[in-house]
Amino acid sequence: MEKELKLMKGNEAIAEAAIRYGADAYFGYPITPQSEVIEYFMEQNPIERTGMVVLQAESEVAAINMVYGAAACGMAAMTSSSSPGFSLKQEGLSYIAGAELPCLVLNVVRGGPGLGTIQPSQSDYFQSTKGGGHGDYRLIVLAPASVQEMYDFVQIGFDLAFKYRNPVLILSDGIIGQMMEKVEIGPQRVRRTMDEVIKQCPWATTGKTANRERNIITSLDLVASRQEEFNRKLVKKYDTIREKEVRCECINCDDADYVFVAYGTSSRLCMKSMDLLRKEGYKVGLVRPITFEDYRWSRRESKGIPHYRNEHRTDGRRRNARSKRQAPS
Amino acid sequence: MAKIRGAVKVDTEKCKGCSVCLGACPMGVLDLAKEVNGKGYNYCYMKDPEKCIGCASCAIVCPDGVISVYKVKVD
């Protein structure tokens, strides 16, 4: 079958990917540089295409809480924003993490603090990798470096979110959101039926039927010991994610004397620099974390490069392609 | 003439003695007991059971839903 290729903005690719994934709902609020996400959704009218609900909320706060409501019904729900709006979503994300709900959030990062600028930035790194809101929780963070990855990470993100019942963040930026690249588009998946949702998410609030106890979605536990137990459970979950879901790309690391460590847009710049330096005879490599959490963890992984590479999945196809181009040394 | 006789059953352990039912009863049947329940509340009881007409006003206003109402027709 012939591949379906399209020239798209990153922001459009993510919306198309959500529709094709068979997502159930998107709730958004306009903010530069990610407004194309909701604009594309509205233009596509996914309620007609797949039955997916799309709604422009009155604020980022409302939007993330709408995601909470839909996710608690077992739905594949998502929202998107840019840095100032993402700050507003932290309250909701904390509740979503506390109630262990799956959802997908996109942050098309712009410079800050405050209103900052509308130019791209990677300044939300700490907010993204340390949880972001109140309480001890972590997001699963995926950092795309291309429009294709914006598309691909929707499916990976939703799958991870449902696997671990945890919010997943796609940490993009203004460049990847706005730039146009060729995207290979996957087939349209059919949205789950209500029965399939109930089967996949027996914990969801889909209406208390006679054959089960009532389902309650909450992040509240007034008994301190139970809350502590819950926190321990979360830590365990995050440890599992750390162990099993690490994704990164290592390029030219085998013989490298120096390596760049960079994600997203910066990794694209570093890749070019690496190529130029290689031509001048410097043995330079690149480690591009795709999932990451906190600094301590990244450092541990990147200090010893062989350890990093051996333990975690690398993108072989890409590395080989690069290796061919490099001059033999 | 047919006469209505009613009676209420109070879950005394769950009653909080708020006495909302006392004011709601049109016949002045209910009162708070001198004794207290396990939580230390003076629970509600039928002081004057003869007068109860089973209108359920007490149960309707009871915030804790501890009152059940029974009613019979007596010839």
Partner: protein
């Protein structure tokens, strides 16, 4: 004819009123006499009468009634402070055949959640919002609420609410009633049997409006 004893009357066949099965047997944490218990029960009774226990999803607020999900035997979600209407919006939109209600106090609905309240009503969401107003923040210990009456004392206005510096009590019900997409707004109380009956009829009507898609 022998005199009837209490035990003759208290028999299953003579039962005219008892707590609905949609309520759980958990003892409520509310203070004695608090109207939350009554209102919870009315919601439960309406759900039972309409036969929609398996189709109803409730959203609880932050405040005293945060633990409402312990008392109603239906699927429920606990919202962040003030955000219940946004959550209910999403539930209804992804599952339009379900009955969705929020249960919120005055601090939750008329202060921190004003935007969510007004906008969900303005969109004409097909949901029911049950607003329980006691004019005070109860759970946190008696602070001034948006609905605290002029001159009324609270721990954050110990000399009484001064309308010149703290504003007048917010008439959120009247504000909502101005919105063209809002179908049914009513103000009820639960302090006497007659008022309880009226309040129940109002809740029932609100749920029936959802059924008819009237919003």
């Amino acid at each position: 004819m022998a005199e009837l004893t209490i035990n003759d009357i208290i028999k299953e066949e003579n039962l005219v009123y008892k707590k609905t099965k949609v309520m759980t047997d958990n003892v409520m944490h509310y203070c004695p006499g608090c109207g939350h218990g009554t209102t919870h029960r009315l919601v439960a009774e309406v759900i039972e009468e309409l036969g929609i226990q398996d189709k109803t999803i409730g959203v609880t607020p932050v405040g005293c009634s945060v633990l409402m999900y312990n008392y109603l035997d239906i699927d429920m979600q606990e919202a962040a402070h003030g955000r219940a209407p946004a959550i209910a919006t999403a539930i209804k939109r992804v599952m339009p055949d379900k009955f969705v209600f929020t249960y919120q106090g005055d601090g939750d609905l008329a202060a921190i959640g004003t935007a969510e309240t007004i906008h969900s009503c303005n969109r004409g969401e097909n949901i029911t919002i049950i607003f329980v107003n006691n004019g005070i923040y109860g759970m946190t210990g008696g602070q001034m609420a948006p609905t605290t009456l002029a001159g009324m004392k609270a721990v954050t206005c110990p000399r009484g609410r001064d309308v010149n510096t703290m504003g007048y009590p917010l008439h959120i019900t009247e504000l909502i009633a101005q919105l063209p997409n809002v179908r049914f707004v009513t103000r009820q109380s639960v302090h006497t049997p007659a008022n309880v009956r009226k309040a129940k009829a109002a809740i029932r009507k609100a749920f029936e409006n959802q059924k008819d898609g009237k919003g």
